[in-house]
């Protein structure tokens, strides 16, 4: 009975597949917010008239002016330009981390999901092991032993995060592997390559996209938190977390030193979370609509 009602209520949008964008405000806000940041980050060298690293003690703690749109920090550096180059660093690192994570995780997930058996059992043991070390703690260990640096931080995040993608892809492959369209493809003479990349992997695209959208936010938070603790980006790098840490001693006299980087982090992460939420609603709707019988 539920299927009948669902079918009546969820009639597909008349004008085909591209109405979902307008029907989903979350996705819209997220994308537009992100677009603004992308613009800022890329035009950093254009707008940042001032050098983010140029120390000028005479200009210390200036209030916002034409020359310094957001004023200057305790070392007289232009906050606005530091924020922009900070955006480039943060988004750049996150992109690199996520790229590496997907390059490792997705094929591993495909392999374990499709091959199963010993490889899969080995993978699951590895997962149990690495899951015992939460990202944050591993970052602390790596920073502690190998010295705090952005590279070490990225390494420790990648080391744990790839598992998330491998598990999602593995889950999808295992669920789809016995479905009739896969059996029909095998009977139709499809080779393993076609089964993996034409039939199985595309099913994992939407869950991976949703996971990635939310992961961007998580990675940015992890990197900035650790930089704040002094375990990530080292001064004078204009990384938002580190900037927030520099601003801390002055938070009574010049609270904006602490305000701007924090707000920047939150807005970027919020943008990605909005996109993630929007994507999940859209893809979920398609999933639910595709799922129920005709």
């Amino acid at each position: 009975m539920n299927a009948a009602i669902k079918k009546a209520v969820l009639r597909p949008a008349r004008n085909g597949r591209y109405v979902w964008l307008s029907a989903n405000p979350l996705l819209l806000i997220g994308i537009s917010l992100l677009f603004v940041f992308m613009l800022l980050a890329l035009s950093g060298w254009l707008l940042a008239a001032n050098d983010p690293l140029a120390v000028n003690m005479a200009e210390r703690l200036k209030s916002p002016s034409l020359e310094y749109p957001l004023g200057t920090d305790h070392m007289g550096r232009c906050i606005f330009s530091r924020l922009i180059s900070g955006a480039r660093t943060t988004l750049g690192i996150t992109a690199m981390v996520l790229m590496t994570v997907m390059v490792i995780g997705i094929p591993m997930g495909l392999l374990c999901g499709y091959a199963g058996g010993r490889i899969d059992a080995l993978f699951m043991r590895l997962v149990d092991g690495l899951l015992a070390l939460p990202e944050f703690i591993l970052a602390i260990a790596v920073a502690g032993f190998l010295g705090p640096s952005l590279m070490n931080l990225m390494l420790s995040v990648v080391l744990v995060k790839w598992i998330g993608y491998a598990r999602v892809v593995r889950g999808v492959v295992m669920a789809e592997r016995e479905k009739e369209y896969i059996l029909a493809a095998r009977v139709g003479g499809a080779r393993t390559f076609k089964l993996l990349f034409r039939h199985l992997l595309p099913q994992a695209v939407s869950p991976v996209m949703v996971l990635a959208a939310f992961d961007v936010g998580k990675v940015i938070l992890t990197i900035s938190s650790l930089s704040y603790l002094g375990l990530g980006a080292q001064p004078p790098a204009p990384e938002w977390g580190a900037m927030l840490n520099d601003g801390r001693p002055y938070f009574q006299t010049a609270p904006e030193l602490m305000l701007y980087p924090g707000a920047a982090i939150m807005l970027v992460v919020l943008a990605f979370n909005l996109i993630g939420d929007g994507l999940r609603n859209v893809l979920d709707l398609k999933e639910r609509w595709r799922g129920n019988p005709g």
Binding site: M1, A4, I5, K7, V9
Partner: protein, 343 residues
């Protein structure tokens, strides 16, 4: 002795409601159906015909996005669909019960069957859990199940057939006057399905309760029900005593449905009389079956299908005997010799 009807549905319409509260589209329109004690009424239709929505409307379990726009539902003479939720809840299980399609799960997987049965009993009458347990086990015996073991096991430990029998026991033990069986055998294979339906009609005779059997399996409806109604696109196409509908179907859709089934015995045609088009193809106005009806005439597309009455054998088709030619106001030449008025 004239028994007063258990269930009377007149002019029932259900529509899809937009968030703003306005009605978007009608899913079910103008349903008339009467059910007497001890009678089994078959409600037949393909997917998307609205038969399950009608059942949910009677039970008062329509999802939020659907609502009853017009019509009356009388259970033992009392109008029920405008009752407050609390009053409706007291009726459910007590006066009317429901058996669902099996694989959709009639019992919560993480709680023992026993607990779910006694809970339902105690929701209606003050009784000790020991007493509730006894009644439950007694009914589990009646549906030929190892009562003690089933009472203490979890749903996933029972087979499809056993679960459906438990569901039957759960509905009957409160001695409701009406049971709605919504596709009870669809998920079961043929032989188990027959046993369940035998059990249902047997227990129905004993308890004199009325049964509304909703199914897309024409064969079992023809074999077991006293009266039947055929639905298409949210409308009633035909309704009447099952024997009469089987021997002399009035509506083209019913005729073609009966012929579309591969016959088990007797002459085997080389090709089945398939109905062209898809079950979803429903006309927005005029007769809903018009797009797929080979006897379609000019009037069918404009004129709304005539109402199907709940008492005798009548059909919604404007041309009562389409094969007989194009007479519009035709007198139905079925053996009851009633007149079909064209509006």
């Amino acid at each position: 002795m004239i028994k007063n009807p258990v269930l009377q549905i007149s002019g029932l319409s259900v529509a899809l409601r937009a968030h703003s509260g306005s009605w978007i589209r009608h899913l079910v329109q103008g349903i008339n159906l009467t059910l007497y004690p001890g009678e089994m009424h078959g409600l037949v239709g393909e997917s998307g015909s609205g038969k399950s929505i009608t059942a949910s409307a009677v039970l008062g379990l329509l999802p939020g996005s659907l609502g009853i726009t017009e019509g009356e539902i009388l259970l033992n003479g009392k109008a029920i669909h405008r009752l407050p939720e609390k009053a409706k809840r007291r009726l459910r299980g007590r006066e009317m019960a429901c058996i669902f399609q099996n694989d959709q799960g009639s019992f919560a997987p993480f709680r023992k069957i026993g607990k779910q049965l006694t809970e339902a009993l105690q929701a209606h009458e003050k009784m000790s859990s020991r007493e509730a347990r006894e009644i439950s086990c007694e009914w589990l015996e009646r549906v030929k199940l190892p009562a003690q073991r089933v009472f203490d096991s979890y749903p996933f430990q029972l087979s499809g057939g056993q679960l459906q029998r438990t569901s039957l026991a759960a509905s009957l033990m409160m001695k409701p006057s009406l049971i709605i069986a919504d596709e009870p055998t669809t998920a079961l294979d043929v032989l188990t399905a027959e046993q369940i339906l035998d059990l249902l009609s047997g227990l129905q005779k004993k308890t004199e309760c009325a049964v509304l059997l909703i199914s897309h399996d024409l064969t079992s409806v023809l074999k077991r029900t006293d009266r039947m109604s055929v639905m298409y696109g949210g409308h009633l196409m035909e309704s009447g005593p099952t024997a009469s509908v089987r021997r002399n179907p009035l509506h083209p859709y019913t005729k073609m449905l009966l012929k579309a089934r591969p016959p088990l015995d007797g002459f085997m045609p080389d090709r089945l009389a398939a109905i062209p088009g898809e079950p979803g193809a429903v006309a927005d106005q005029g007769c809903p079956f018009a797009p797929r009806c080979p006897y379609r005439k000019e009037a069918c597309v404009h004129m709304p299908a005539s109402g199907v009455r709940a008492d005798d054998h009548s059909s919604a088709c404007l041309f009562a005997d389409p094969e007989g030619g194009d007479s519009i106001a035709a007198v139905a030449r079925s053996d009851q010799d009633r007149e079909v008025v064209w509006r």
